[in-house]
Amino acid sequence: MLDVVLPVLVLGALALALLGALRRIGLWRQGRPSPVSVLGGLAAMPRRYLVDLHDVVARDKVFANTHVATGGGFVAAAVLLILVHGFQLESRVLSWALIAASVVMFAGALRVAARRRNPPVRLSRGPWMRLPKSLFAFASGVFLVTLPTAGVVPASFGGWALAGVLTLVVAWGIAEMFLGMTWGGPMKHAFAGALHLAFHRRPERFGGGRSTGLKPLDLGNPEAPLGVGKPADFTWNQLLGFDACVQCGRCEAMCPAFAAGQPLNPKKLIQDMVVGMAGGTDAAYAGSPYPGKPVGEHGGDAHSAIVLRGGHEGGRALVDAETLWSCTTCRACVEECPMMIEHVDAIVDMRRHLTMEHGNTPNKGREVLENLATTDNPGGFDPASRMNWAADLDLPLMSARGSADVLLWMGDGAFDMRNQRTLRALVKILRAAKVDFAVLGNEELDSGDVARRLGDEATFQALAARNAATLAKYRFREIVTCDPHSFHVLKNEYGAFGASYTVSHHSTFISSLMEKGRLALGEWTGGRVTYHDPCYLGRYNGEYEAPRKALKGIGIKVVDMERSGFRSRCCGGGGGAPITDIPGKRRIPDMRMEEINATKADVVAVGCPQCTAMLEGVVGPRPEVLDIAELVAAQLVAAPAAAQRAKKDVAEEVAA
């Protein structure tokens, strides 16, 4: 009987799955166009899966092995199942291979089941809880029905009753694995995930690359939507990306806003986007909610508003505005997501709509954006006072010099008394190393970072264009800045407007000065030092080493926090979060300071004006917050032997 039922079952399920796939593709294609290379993407997909995706999955070693066994076993088993039972290919070898694949898959399923016995909170439950059973059904069913084909037992073994039971078991397995893949269910991630990898909107991320700059809006075209107001405003491959989510909650576990009890959970946000794309409510969601927001009250469809205008009492759409405004754009979720989903792009896309269409940026947002438009800095300070901090320093101005080796980009920290200390320290270092540098002075404008993260693309593009025009007047080798936000924007986001520069963070520049022996430095004699990686330097730009090297150069052995490097936790200062200031249960900088305290450090070294401000805002007792530039400048030695040598090096360089 089995040889009659199985082909029908397998091929029928395949046909239905194909139908589901077409429907799913239709859902994605509700999105806006986004050009991709179809063949190139498909060709690159296996590598992206095996290397890039598994690199991320492998951060959880145990689960990575589980997934290799289950996923690998399943893919092999599925192909062989179609050949052996679907098309009835009579081959002992294939049958044995199928048996082997089902055994591997079964072993994997055992591990999946073990993990599901007491799952960490970050994992979603619901349909995901039945997945191990379905895996068992598939693996064991396929194993048993293949025994006769492999010749282990006679074809008539067990009779009708057993054949009937086996058919049901296999049907269950196939339903979950084949139909679930395209009609929705835990296995959807395999189908959507594979295509998402192939058609990713940021292909540069694969093969060890990095792509973190936000994509520009086309403001020249009045027909182009200003950000995303309804799910169909996302590009089709963004929608596809949302569908790939496996609800593993790795993003949730990393999200500082979630941890602080603000109403944001990146995993839920992605699931809400899936709900919006397919239409319905979030009632079926079985993971952690947005803190303070019960599940089941929100819903929508592809063509209705994601956020209600005005966001008033009673009315609810797909998500609430405050969810979107809680994000610090720290990219911890993106960094951690095994499916390479781009949460930050999605959040900023939706913020763009709130700011540029609704005109509703919360709290200080309106004021800051108006200040940026009228005074070119978020604080509304007189732009002619940008250089006041350096009144006694006699800094060389680009407008007077025309060219310099290094252009020191001051950033808006120039208006902030705390950051002025950092800037002064940096100038001291540059002078000690006899670096040929100049500043733009009052010609410098805000880089546009905050405007862009607050969704005001128009103000960002205006600032970018004016800054680029100023920079185009002068000749310099590289830009050095102590502000990672300016650094990121100048390096990664001005390029889209035809302006590209070599940009270094001051820690990178200082550590290269040290390497060249151009700084005469004493040894740090203070206490324990830990280092807080700024998101915009680390995850956005991959610079984890230089700050540590610079600190090592003055004899500091950094005691790292548990969350450091690419897993560093945000200080809470990015993405305009201090401006929109969405309340939570705790403050993000307080949580970060707890982690700093856990290292028993006396000093926390930072490399960003935002981090400095956020961490210094934490009530004491707490370690002292000092910028790398301040720590290095304090170790500058007047003119010992080393400096003599350094001088000679410089002389040689000049001569060369």
Binding site: G311, A321, R366, L369, A373, D382, P383, A458
Partner: protein, 272 residues
């Protein structure tokens, strides 16, 4: 974080409201922007008249710079602004008067004073006088509007408020006491229309004979407070300006009241 600015005032059904807007100037950088008080006036207008019942007019030039500033009003969610084209040096009052007569609004909202030009704050007064409409200055909020009158809160010094019943049509001026204007959004600002209207130009005869010079900062008399305790200093800082010598007239005839006022004005040299 959700704004309640758009809370609708009771009984506002189909009141036709006009707001007069000008091109402002940022106090620090001098860049054109929506004028602060005018924007607050528009904000009140938006809370009174949703939909197409709020009409905006600007009398003046429409250069590229001023266009960006005018679009900032559109960005508050307004479909269009009528631009009554008036060259520099023109008296804009007749043009505005003609526009208002044709539109026939029940309520005209104006910022208390402009940020450029003469900025005398007289336009609302002149308009009310010419049109024969009521005038209220320093409006803090409109509480309710019905067919012939409205109840408003007028701002007085030191945060005091006075509730007034005002006969319509009326011209009101809005200053810092009113709610701040909502954010201006790029999308609606770009989509909204500036309808340029050709209007008769009346040269401003008086202004032509004036000479203008940049204002100088005038020295300010320091208020010397001889206080020995923090409490005294606080009291001195928070004290009301003492009028002294005032006279409260109650229960007098209109004739006697008017005479008393005239007498005071003569004494103070307001009338000669």
């Amino acid at each position: 974080m959700q704004r309640d600015g758009n809370r609708n005032v009771t009984g506002q059904e189909r009141v036709k409201v006009a707001a007069l807007v000008s091109v402002g100037r940022h106090p620090v950088t001098g860049r054109p922007r929506r004028a602060e008080y005018d924007a607050r006036a528009v904000e009140i207008g938006l809370s009174l008249a949703t939909g197409g019942n709020l009409h905006l007019a600007h009398a003046g030039e429409c250069s590229p710079e001023s266009e960006a500033a005018l679009r900032a009003y559109l960005g508050m969610g307004i479909a269009g602004v009528d631009v009554l084209q008036q060259p520099a040096g023109a008296d804009i009052v007749p043009a505005l008067e003609a526009w208002l007569r044709e539109l026939g609004p029940r309520l005209v909202l104006c910022g208390a004073r402009g940020e450029t030009g003469e900025a005398s704050g007289l336009v609302p007064f002149l308009l009310a006088e010419r049109l024969g409409w009521s005038l209220v200055c320093g409006l803090a909020a409109v509480e309710s509007v019905d067919g012939d009158s409205m109840i408003v809160l007028q701002a007085l010094p030191r945060g005091q408020r006075r509730r007034l019943k005002v006969r319509l049509p009326a011209v009101v001026t809005v200053d810092a006491a009113a709610q701040p204007a909502r954010q201006s959004a790029f999308g609606p600002a770009r989509r909204g229309g500036l309808q340029r209207l050709d209007t008769p130009v009346t040269p401003d005869g008086d202004a032509q004979s004036w000479t203008t010079a940049p204002a100088r900062k005038r020295p300010k008399r320091l208020k010397i407070v001889k206080a020995t305790s923090a409490r005294d200093r606080f009291k001195a800082a928070a004290a009301k300006a003492e009028g002294g010598g005032g006279q409260v007239l109650t229960g007098v005839s209109a004739q006697a009241g008017a005479e008393a006022i005239l007498k005071l004005l003569r004494e103070e040299g307001v009338l000669r």
